[in-house]
Symmetry: C2
Subunit: 205 residues, 2 copies
DNA sequence: TTTTACATTAACCATTTGGTTAAAACAAAC
DNA sequence: GTTTGTTTTAACCAAATGGTTAATGTAAAA
């Protein structure tokens, strides 16, 4: 009984995550989630009262998962280049396993940015806290680039190619999914090389 | 009569563009479009038979507008750095005036990528054609970076910060819209500097 | 074995939503 | 002024959708 409850709840959450991420909040249908979970639609409302509640639940869990990884990385005491390497590595893996994630988050960013920040907060993610230490480490290693510029450029180059996957896949790799995946994996190295190269311009001598 | 027809059609298109771009295809409501255009909902169906048709019409017009600008730029015979400058300049202006555009296009990329490519084609935009000349110019100027890497990294850094605007605005600039705008404008220069710096790594000597 | 409490479902409901229809308004043609 | 063709609207419709309810299953407690 207790076991079964957990089982169905899990089934619902898995199905809902897939549907929400793929179709977004507005495009998702409760019926589709129920079907995918192999249960009656009423059960959705039995476990999570409304679509909005179900969505919030999944969304905040997702944010927590993503955010916690950043925290760990930021606190390691290694060089900027090592941190960069770890960050890019981890995020590209995460995104390859969740290709619809960027789009999903972009949607939520426009639909309800304050709710997203609220979720950050609830998940104990406070990006502002990372800024000052990052700033210090950057200047200690001789880079004058602003920390938010540093972060935004990296996030851009990691996230965009996954958000635009269907187009890049078709346009650059003639629809070959495997070549696309290899390309994204290859960016683990090339982005680091690219960023460190660009940073030389900002190096004070 | 003829004038009035054009007038209402224009009103519909403007309203529809706004709503579609802000809410996406799934989130947009015909009633909201009608209200925003100040007309009866039936008129929408009188001018454009269905939501899908109205959406397609607006979408392809948008794509055409964006795409034609790239074509012009690519054909100018100036240095890579100059082309880069022109590209970044033009796109940042376009995006500042249409902040919801990236999200809108990302949605369509996942919802119907082939329709998007179809639209590219209809608008006489063929990105593959630009690849070879770009490749040649890059190597002539001594850069070994792959042309699609070159383009993807630039698009990333131009588009991402606008797509993530509400978050960046709140997190980095404490909600100050003007500071955010100034930051994006400042990226016109900083992205060029950044990219050209990174390209040094790829320069063959 | 009966009771109890929770899990699950089928049948329904109210609202929303894209879309249709038939009538009214309007402007030009005769 | 009447006819004709087009634009606009109010009223309506069917399907979809989030959500409710009441009945049924089911497993543990008594």
């Amino acid at each position: 009984m207790e076991e079964k409850e957990i089982h169905t709840e899990e089934k619902i959450l898995n199905a809902a995550r897939e549907v929400f991420i793929e179709k977004g909040m507005a495009g998702a249908r409760m019926q589709e989630i129920a079907d995918k979970a192999g249960i009656n639609k009423s059960l959705l409302h039995y476990y999570f009262r409304s679509k909005e509640k179900l969505f919030s639940f999944i969304f905040s869990k997702l944010i927590g998962k993503i955010g916690s990884r950043i925290g760990e990385l930021m606190e390691e005491s290694v060089s900027i280049e090592e941190k960069l390497k770890g960050f890019v590595d981890m995020y590209i893996d995460l995104l390859l396993n969740n290709p619809y994630l960027p789009n999903f988050i972009f949607n939520e960013i426009t639909r309800n940015p304050d709710g997203l920040l609220q979720n950050f907060h609830s998940a104990n993610i406070n990006p502002r806290e990372y800024m000052e230490p990052l700033q210090k480490q950057l200047s200690k290693e001789g880079y004058t680039i602003l920390p938010h510029d540093f972060i935004i450029n990296i996030l851009s180059m990691v996230i965009f190619p996954v958000a635009a996957r269907p187009i890049i896949e078709r346009l650059v790799f003639e629809g070959n999914k495997d070549e696309y995946k290899q390309y994204i994996l290859s960016r683990k190295e090339s982005i680091v090389k690219y960023v460190m190269g660009a940073m030389e311009v900002y190096k004070q001598k």
